[in-house]
């Protein structure tokens, strides 16, 4: 049971900065997921925690002990690699007992610890096999077992499911959640897959361009993103962004116009307390689920849009449209199929729209 604090950490290769100004608190027993596009530095951050990469600046504490220069093996962390890193010349048992062998632990201790881990992961019948004789999911479990045997303070996972097929991934996800509940250990997990992040995490850390964009619980990130990047990264299909002009600012709402280039239409009223009246240009973030195709375009009020693509998933229909000014907007109809119309009108749930400034930072209403 261990907590991890990272303060002002940075990483650079020579003059090339990889990570900058990383501040993070991970509580004991938490399941934290680092998510971001490839090259965002999430794996580097994980490797810095593991000790496989040096930390260029800042401080890293595990249970209040600075671990910046502690040898990777002595930090009390275990890592599960993307490629599993199982040794083909060793049996499953020997792979799982590798750390104990290196520490010259007595055979009885090796047997006991490996067998306990194998039981948790249902690997007992495979202990004499070699990695080449295992399926992808089994190899994955052996790699996790190898980590469990070490009884680490923190588990690190580096995209552990990316080599598995889709079905197995879902299954392993469920197993990881169970494992976390059972071990109550601190786990840090790196992935580029936001679905994995949403389903696994107690806390998600979104990284982009070597910086932390936002830290929070999965649904908080979904509902209340700090910036355009987080808003766009979390959720599929991605959030729509429409540029707009602020026409009128009132105490508890604003009126915006010019959505989709439609200058003639009456403004859209968005609930917003305490808007800074000096801001004239904004971007509206609208999730596809908050945009719907009007049933009767002739009489409906909304944005005129032209349908370019319809994705029918049965229960859910995503309609891709293009607006008059060329901006794209994806709308969703729940439980209703698309009529086939090309010229249509999209209705926006104005109370659900998020407001961003032109730099992409979220503008939040003043708290009541």
């Amino acid at each position: 049971m261990s907590s991890l604090q990272i303060s002002n950490a940075a990483k650079a290769y020579g003059a090339v900065p990889i990570l900058d100004n990383i501040n993070l608190d991970i509580a004991s027993g938490e399941f934290v997921v680092f998510v971001g596009p490839s090259g965002c530095g999430k794996s580097t951050l994980l490797r810095m925690i593991s000790g496989l990469e040096d930390i260029t600046a800042g401080e890293m504490r595990l249970d209040d002990r600075v671990i910046n220069h502690v040898d990777p093996a002595k930090r009390g962390i275990a890592m599960v690699f993307q490629s599993y890193a199982l040794y083909p010349h060793l049996t499953v048992f020997e792979n799982m007992a590798f750390s104990l062998t290196m520490a010259r632990a007595p055979m009885a201790e090796r047997k006991e610890k490996v067998e306990r881990a194998a039981e948790i992961l249902r690997l007992t019948h495979l202990l004499d096999r070699r990695p080449a004789q295992l399926s992808g999911g089994q190899k994955q479990r052996v790699a996790i077992g190898r980590a469990i045997v070490r009884q680490p303070k923190v588990f690190l996972f580096d995209e552990p499911l990316s080599n598995l097929d889709a079905e197995l991934r879902v299954q392993m996800r469920a197993e990881l959640i169970q494992l976390h509940q059972r071990l109550r250990a601190t786990m840090i997990y790196v992935t580029h897959d936001q679905v994995e992040a949403m389903t696994l995490a107690d806390k998600i850390v979104v990284l982009n361009g070597g910086r932390i964009q936002q830290v929070g619980r999965p649904l908080d990130l979904y509902d209340d993103p700090d910036n355009k990047f987080v808003a766009g990264f979390i959720g599929t299909p991605t959030m729509n962004f429409l540029s707009a002009r602020v026409k009128d600012v009132a105490a508890d709402h604003i009126v915006v116009s010019g959505l989709g280039g439609d200058t003639a239409a009456a403004g859209l009223v968005i609930p917003f307390a305490g808007f800074d009246p000096s801001i004239r240009e904004i971007q509206l973030g609208i999730r596809p689920e908050h945009a719907t195709i009007a049933i009767d375009p002739a009489s409906a009020e909304g944005l005129a849009a032209k349908v370019t693509l319809v994705e029918e998933l049965g229960d859910l229909t995503s309609v891709h449209t293009v607006l008059a000014n060329g901006e794209r907007l994806v709308a969703q109809n729940h439980g209703r199929r698309h009529s086939g119309a090309i010229e249509t009108v999209v209705r926006i749930a104005a109370d659900k729209a998020l407001v961003f400034d032109m730099a992409g930072q979220r503008l939040r209403p003043a708290k009541a």
């Binding site: 496989l52 093996a73 962390i77 890193a85």
Partner: protein, 297 residues
């Protein structure tokens, strides 16, 4: 090795579909004939050597050209004679030790260095690597005499270390192992590091087992070149007590040695036995090892 449909096989089947049946069979017969003849030329000298050893010594070669063995007891007698009446057994021992120690030394030292060059970055790496690689271009002719003189200065003439040690700086083995060890995934090394393995343990418990095939190939190639090395033992171990098998055979060869052909051939046959056995066991590794160094080199 898998049996793939080879290009030339498709060639002959191509001509089969185009040309008449008869011409095909002539081409095929010709092909087999040539292959068998070449095989005979390749294998016959060794077969003949065997026959010389295992035949009645009295019969002149004009009457019995030794095309097949005729006497088992004569052969055994020859082997017994060479072991009891000459220093061949000692030479055999020297050759075996020379070969064995060279293989162990080369495998150990080049794998240690290859592990570092293939998997890690450290100051001076590129310089060291460059020097070693350039040495692959330097012919043996330029180093053999100064190396000999150095061995003399060290007082290693006619010693086992004089035979073995100078040959351990094999850039070829290092290069081959580096090429192989580069393919070991970095995650395997990192996982071991996290599991508390120290640097040497990573080398010994991870890199060495993962390079098993390359090490076997290098061991075999080293075996062949060391067992067959003639020039170095000749100059560095000129004393009869340190003769290798090759030197004894060369000595039997000398014009006034008065050694009879059956004794010379027995010496030859016994010298051929270890490489032949090795070849029969490790055929695939030998052939693939040579092919690999040729196509990748």
């Amino acid at each position: 090795m898998s049996t793939t449909v080879t290009p030339a096989a498709t060639l002959s089947s191509a001509s089969a579909s185009i040309a008449s049946r008869r011409s095909v069979s002539i081409a095929t017969i010709l092909k087999w004939l040539v292959a068998i003849c070449v095989a005979i030329v390749a294998v016959f000298p060794i077969w003949w050597m065997f026959n010389v050893v295992f035949s009645h010594p009295g019969v002149p070669i004009s009457i019995n050209p030794r095309l097949y063995p005729t006497s088992l007891s004569a052969g055994l007698n020859n082997i017994l004679t060479i072991f009891t009446e000459t220093d061949y057994l000692r030479a055999y021992y020297v050759s075996v030790m020379y070969t064995l120690l060279t293989i162990i030394g080369i495998l150990l030292f080049s794998s240690m260095a290859a592990f570092e060059f293939a998997q890690f970055q450290f100051p001076g790496k590129n310089l060291l690597f460059g020097i070693v690689m350039i040495s692959l271009m330097v012919p043996k002719a330029v180093t053999i005499i100064p190396t000999y003189l150095l061995t003399v200065q060290l007082g290693w003439l006619n010693t086992m270390q004089g035979l073995v040690v100078p040959g351990l700086a094999s850039a070829f083995g290092l290069f081959m192992l580096i090429q192989f060890m580069k393919s070991i995934p970095a995650e395997m090394i990192e996982a071991a590091r996290l599991d508390g393995a120290n640097h040497f343990q990573i080398y010994w418990h991870v890199a060495i087992p993962l390079s098993k095939n390359a090490l076997i190939t290098l061991a075999i190639l080293t075996f062949m070149s060391t067992w067959g090395n003639y020039i170095w033992p000749l100059i560095v171990a000129p004393s009869p007590t340190m003769y290798t098998v090759g030197q004894v055979v060369g000595l039997f060869n000398a014009p006034y040695s008065h050694t009879t052909v059956d004794i010379v051939m027995t010496a030859n046959l016994l010298a051929a036995v270890p490489p032949l056995i090795f070849f029969l066991i490790f055929q695939r590794q030998i052939v693939e090892g040579i092919a690999h160094s040729g196509t990748k080199g």
